[in-house]
């Protein structure tokens, strides 16, 4: 075979093999590893799958944080002012986690509708609101807050 043609053949077969391997890997990896975001109202309405990794976002309800005295277990309520979901987390919470602040929790729903979180994310600075939380709260108002026209 002509050396240049042979070269092209090598190149093309390498590209085909590698890209099919990569596509296979991507499909395989995406299947289990993407998490969809749900606002609390959707979770309460039963739209979120049970026992599958999801993300939940909203505000931490004032006075809802309960810490265990002996362990690092914490439970709190996350709300979008329409419905609330109980979140249980064992571990260290982020610095900016607090009552009345925005939060995103990642984990699986158990059969009782409690989100068992593997990770809890809070804001990076005082003025910042996670975009998903902002979208979840859009058009809903906190009790006692005047709605902005």
């Amino acid at each position: 075979m002509h050396p240049i043609r042979k070269q092209r053949l090598i190149l093309v077969s390498l590209v085909v093999v590698l890209s099919s391997a990569a596509v296979g890997l991507v499909v395989f990896a995406l299947r289990d590893n993407i998490n969809l975001f749900y606002p609390p109202a959707d979770v309460v309405a039963g739209k979120a799958p049970v026992n599958r990794s999801i993300r939940l976002g909203g505000m931490v309800v004032e006075g809802s944080i309960e810490r265990s005295d002996t362990e690092l277990d914490t439970t709190f309520l996350v709300t979008d002012y329409e419905a609330s979901v109980v979140v249980r987390y064992s571990g260290i919470l982020p610095d900016l986690f607090a009552e009345g602040e925005g939060v995103v929790a990642e984990g699986k729903l158990d059969s009782n509708g409690v989100l068992v979180a593997t990770q809890v994310l809070a804001k990076h600075d005082e003025n910042y609101m996670p975009p998903e939380v902002a979208a979840a709260l859009e058009g809903k108002t906190a009790p006692g807050e005047a709605s902005v026209p």
Binding site: L14, L25, F28, L30, N35, I92, D95, D125, E126
Partner: protein
Amino acid sequence: MIPELGHIALIIAFCLAVALAVIPAWGAARRNVSAMNLAPTLAVSVTLFVSIAFSILATSFLQNDFSVAVVAANSNSLLPPIFKFSAVWGNHEGSLLLWVLILSGWMTAIAFFSRGLPLIMVARVLSVMGFIAVGFLAFSLLTSNPFERLLPNTPLDGNDLNPLLQDLGLIIHPPLLYMGYVGLSVPFAFAIAALLGGRLDASWARWSRPWTNVAWGFLSLGIMLGSWWAYYELGWGGWWFWDPVENASFMPWLMGTALVHSLAATEKRGVFRSWTVLLAIFAFSLSLLGTFLVRSGVLTSVHAFAADPERGLFILIFLALVVGGSLLLYAVRAPSVASRVSYTAVSRESLLMVNNLVFTVATVVVLMGTLFPLVMDAFSLGKYSVGPPYFNAVFVPLMALVMPFMTMGPLSRWREDTARRWLHELIVPGLAVVLLAALLGTFNAEGFNVWIALAVLLSGWVSLGVLRDLWRRVASGDGRLRWHRLNASFLGMTTAHLGFAAVVLGAVFVTQLNEERDLRMAVGDIETLGGYRFELVEIGQSQGPNYATDFAVFDVTEAGQRIALLVPEKRRYIASGQIMTEAAIDASLWRDVYIALGEPIGDDAWAVRLQYKPMVRWLWLGALMIGLGALVTIFDRRYRTQAARSELPTAGAVGVAG
């Protein structure tokens, strides 16, 4: 008054950049020598005025001029001076100014160090970079003016710099990263200039190669510092999160890795010419995409200083212009410059091709994972997030795939080699590595660990292959070592490849053997982890310059011997009220002991995270070797002879280059 001068300097810089983008390019098209000769002068003038603007902004920060909006938002009179200075780029407007400053710095470097190049090439390269400068200066002036004032309602004091950014690592991380990020505009400009001139030969690759190596080296160092900073400053001991913002800098790095290797083949053998040009275009496009992702606020991150759709739109249009324009130019010009050089399947060319394919595919899969949530969101198909499991599943096998070939690459011959020769060179190191991998994989604390065995096998294979090659070049018949035979290019490559092996070892060991526990601890409590005994001996409070702190003192001992007294802190910054975790780390080559405070629980007790992280330092040492290895290559003699040639008159080169 002074901030207004900065604003005026920025406007002048913009006008000069427009002149730089237009005049020398016109001169190159019309073969007008005096127009082309303007390019270096204009480039230096742009740099001068951007530097003036930058110095003025820095002065505003240092002098607590809170009438300037970004100073009021990101500084405070209590902030230590060094952080006041780094606060200049700790915000959107200032970091954009740094971007432009570094871009103009690269332009000036080209103006000074490219006197050996044909004038027409210099003119085109600087024009292309001038065009990029126009885009970013317009971006700065139109959407993110750093000199905006808060008059007459000047605040008495500023909001303070985000405490996460009040750190030494953050003083050098952004400038280094930008050096790399923006530096990729240089090979891009060379590629566009070569396409414009229709001369895609080996000399183009030789000119652009040292610049590419330097830019890529800085990018490696910048990413390394970012990872290191996240490790100790974000407080929880992770070193890579596959966060979209990390990916934003990692994708140009991956593409740059392909480019660095492809350039080698183009320079030495004249192969992959069109492909190399395409890589140069993609690498810089990914830099711009990264800038878009980070600066538009579409992402949730410490880097996303502000969300402003107008800014995102601006960069998106600029990105489309640059990518679209350069791909169009490529489509028109590239087919005419296809290479006619042959090589066989067993040769250095085909090994470099494997590198290129793997790193391109790696870039694509990281790009897919990064953009997937954004695309789904843009079409209202749901709010997804793609987490580390996806990236690990696609990225790790690709890297494992490329490593066996890394050993043969440097050893093999150009054009044609034989598998028999490879076998002859590598059989002894190969067998030694298999043995070592089996031993280390088996004899560790948890029994046989297949990942550790694989990591040792692949990293050992790469390093022993590299060392075998080094020995082959240095050793001579009479038993004396001939170090002078090694050139800077070879030393750089060897260092970088060893660094890569070190990164892989560090990554796998710390992932596999990491020990971590979240606990509730009170004074007097004792825990053991990773063979160390941790005793909480004291809890207290104290004051820093602009924060109040809760601290805990841990006595860390091993077999009765004190290893370290570690003092993790929980700081509360006064101006912003923000809470920060300061981890305490006892670092060494083989392991880190890492303690971070969570929150106070009940009476005198704290939530505490204890970590034992074996070989985590190898990650950053390896990345340091990769970066320094790339930087060392510019000392190679063949680039210096190119510089020496520049002493000769070059005016005659213009006609030749046409």
